[in-house]
Structures are given as C-alpha cells and as structure tokens.
C-alpha cells in the first residue's frame, strides 16, 4: 500500500538555524498538509497546499514558515529561524480529493537546542 514518507525521522538543530523537513506524499494525491504535535498534545494544523499554492494556513504558520513543492514528488516545510518552541513532531499528510481520508507520514521529530 502506498504511503507518505518523511525524512529525516529526527532532526536536531541549534536555535536560530534554518531547517527543512521533507515529505514525499502518495503519488496520485492532490492535497498536501503539514501538522505539528507537541509532545503529548493534540495534532495541530499548520498549512494545506493545493495546485502549487497554499490554500489554508493556521495562526501557527507565521512568516518563519514556508512550504514548497519543488518537483512532482517532494513537499517541504522550511522554518527560517528556529525557536525552542518549534520543538515538536511534524507530520506531513496527503489526500486524494475532497473529503477523503488523510494519510499521514510517521513524522519528523524536530528538537531545537
């Protein structure tokens, strides 16, 4: 069964540094998402992406965040200048179409020192 893959599984970065989290969504999916989950807490929506542009974003997704689909397969989340509070699990998800189930990757654990 096709799955969403995320790399790296764990990223350790110094505060203030830029970090790029990578995702390969399922190939025939059209909608792409980033979520984050602070340890022990709920899954929080960051951003959705469709047709090569952001379609919706949350208050968390400020100017420090950006997303890109540089080619036909990768979907990336960039955090320009990381803060301690950015430490969390970041999940990528993709959906084939409207009101279809979201398929999640296994996440990248981001640790900011």
């Amino acid at each position: 069964e096709p799955e969403v893959t995320q790399t790296p599984s764990h990223q350790v970065t110094q505060m203030g540094q830029e970090v790029i989290l990578r995702c390969v969504p399922i190939s025939n999916h059209l909608y792409f998402y980033w979520y984050r989950q602070i340890l022990g807490q709920k899954v929080e929506f960051l951003v959705s992406f469709y047709n090569n542009e952001i379609s919706e974003k949350s208050e968390i997704f400020d100017d420090q965040f950006s997303v890109e689909r540089p080619d036909g397969s990768n979907f990336t989340l960039k955090i320009r200048s990381t803060k301690l509070e950015d430490s969390a699990m970041y999940f990528c998800a993709s959906v084939r179409g409207d009101n279809q189930p979201q398929h999640f990757g296994d996440g990248t654990r981001l640790s900011i020192l």
């Binding site: 969403v4 909608y31 998402y33 807490q41 709920k42 899954v43 929080e44 929506f45 959705s48 469709y50 379609s55 919706e56 949350s58 999940f91 998800a93 409207d98 009101n99 189930p101 979201q102 398929h103 999640f104 990757g105 296994d106 996440g107």
Partner: protein, 112 residues
C-alpha cells in the same frame, strides 16, 4: 477555539471490555468525521470514518455512532485487546475544506 472536543483524556479498560470515546463539534458545516489511531513514534492512521447521512458505521470491532442533532459522535471498540492500546483522535472537516480539526486525543490502555 476548540472546534472538536474529545473526552475522556485517558481510559483504562479490561481486555474484552468496551472502550468508548466521545467527541462533540460546533460547526454544522462539518460533514466528514474520521477517527485516527496513533501508536508511539508513528503518525496517526485512519481507523474508521463516517459522514452525517448515517447514524452508525461498523468495521470489525470498531463502531462510530453519530448523533447529528446533538453534534456528537463516538467511537466504540468492542472486545478491546491490549494491542488496541494507543492514542485515539477524532477529527472533523467540511465539504471542500482543507483543514482537519482534531480533538485533543484519548490515551487508551487495555489491561490483560
């Protein structure tokens, strides 16, 4: 603003028992309600989902009950097994919408 409220926060059930997790929502525009199961170190995985045109959906030991008038839906796990021990999240989305709104999660422990 909490779009989807989930309870309880944690649940301990004996093996063979019934686990029940409840969610409530406010936005009547929501029309897709999935439940996700998450094991430690893994991403949420879709367990079962329902649309508001039916009041119940059953898949194996998992059943969603949906009450549109009360804006509530619940997950029932019959004959709970230790392997069901995980965190369960309810979620909701609306037609044509992009965002899934997640509940706060329920940590289920099934004891042998």
């Amino acid at each position: 603003q909490q779009q989807v409220k989930q309870s309880p926060q944690s649940l301990i059930v004996q093996k063979g028992g019934i686990s029940i997790i409840n969610c409530a929502y406010e936005n009547t525009a929501f029309d897709y309600f999935p439940w996700y199961q998450q094991f430690p170190g893994k991403g949420p995985a879709l367990l079962i989902a329902i649309r508001p045109d039916v009041s119940e959906k059953k898949e194996g030991r998992f059943t969603i009950s949906f009450n549109k008038s009360a804006k509530q839906f619940s997950l029932h796990i019959m004959d709970s097994q230790p392997g069901d021990s995980a965190t369960y999240f309810c979620a909701a989305s609306k037609m044509g919408g992009n965002q899934f709104y997640f509940g706060t999660g329920t940590s289920l422990t099934v004891i042998p």
